[in-house]
């Protein structure tokens, strides 16, 4: 068994209005110095030993992200 983390982020060139809304709210809460926020998705998968990296990449690219507008990173977390 292993824990696999998949982080999905909007591509840099894609407008992220949700991230902008968060960034704009920070000064109103008294937090300064944060110049930009990008908002994405974080998935945690519990996988058994039969699931190889190639399969994980297929899952991340073909389902968890939309490669047209999003980038993804797959990481295995040691337990």
């Amino acid at each position: 068994m292993a824990r696999v983390v998949v982080d999905v982020m909007p591509k840099p060139e894609i407008l992220d209005p949700q991230g902008q809304a968060v960034a704009n709210a920070l000064p109103r809460l008294g937090f300064t110095g944060i110049t930009d926020v990008r908002q994405g998705k974080h998935f945690e998968l519990e996988v058994d030993d039969t699931v190889d990296d190639e399969t994980l990449a297929k899952i991340a690219e073909g389902f968890l992200s939309n490669p047209v507008v999003e980038d993804f990173v797959v990481r295995r977390i040691d337990q």
Binding site: P10, L15, P17, A21, F63, L64, N66, V68, V69
Partner: protein, 223 residues
Amino acid sequence: MSRVGVITFPGTLDDTDAARAVRYAGGEPVALWHKDADLRGVDAVVVPGGFSYGDYLRAGAIARFAPVMDEVVAAAHRGMPVLGICNGFQILCEAGLLPGALLRNAGLHFVCRDQKLRVERTSTAWTAGYADNAEIVIPVKNMDGRYAAAKSTVDELEGEGRVVFRYLDVNPNGSLGDIAGISSPDGRIVGLMPHPEHAIDTLTGPGDDGLAMFRSVLGAVLA
């Protein structure tokens, strides 16, 4: 009489109006169920709006794997006309039948308004009944309607004249190039965010500008 399938997923909202629009246009609507890998011999398919599977993960991301969608994709590749409206457009993009993606509206608000559009491509199965550059008003109502794609994709769509509908006066969601709807190269597959099925009768909509879309396809399947 031409038979036009209307798909229902869990969370679909506009299947009843889409079926009514088919009937108004003179076709026979055929209910299709997301779990059935069967198009029941229809001549064309409408993928209607709503929030299939609650829009979980991304709008349309889960619906594209429904058994009925395998049949829609296969039939579309054989040239069967397919129209994706709103969530249906999102599903067709996720399924790879149309390029690009629909993202959260730039203003972060759900937008619901009567929207003016220009019909820029009439050589499609779904727009042949409109005059070139016709200006129409049909409702738009969505949270995730911002059309996005790689610049090369948008350039290709523009260059090949595949932008079928463009927002006029107001861009309600920040879509690139004011794009409201696009088509496949052969014009058999069309997707748009606004809702033609809500504008088929002045009693229940802002007008009947949407009806020509459903009439157009009846002509296309006979041709």
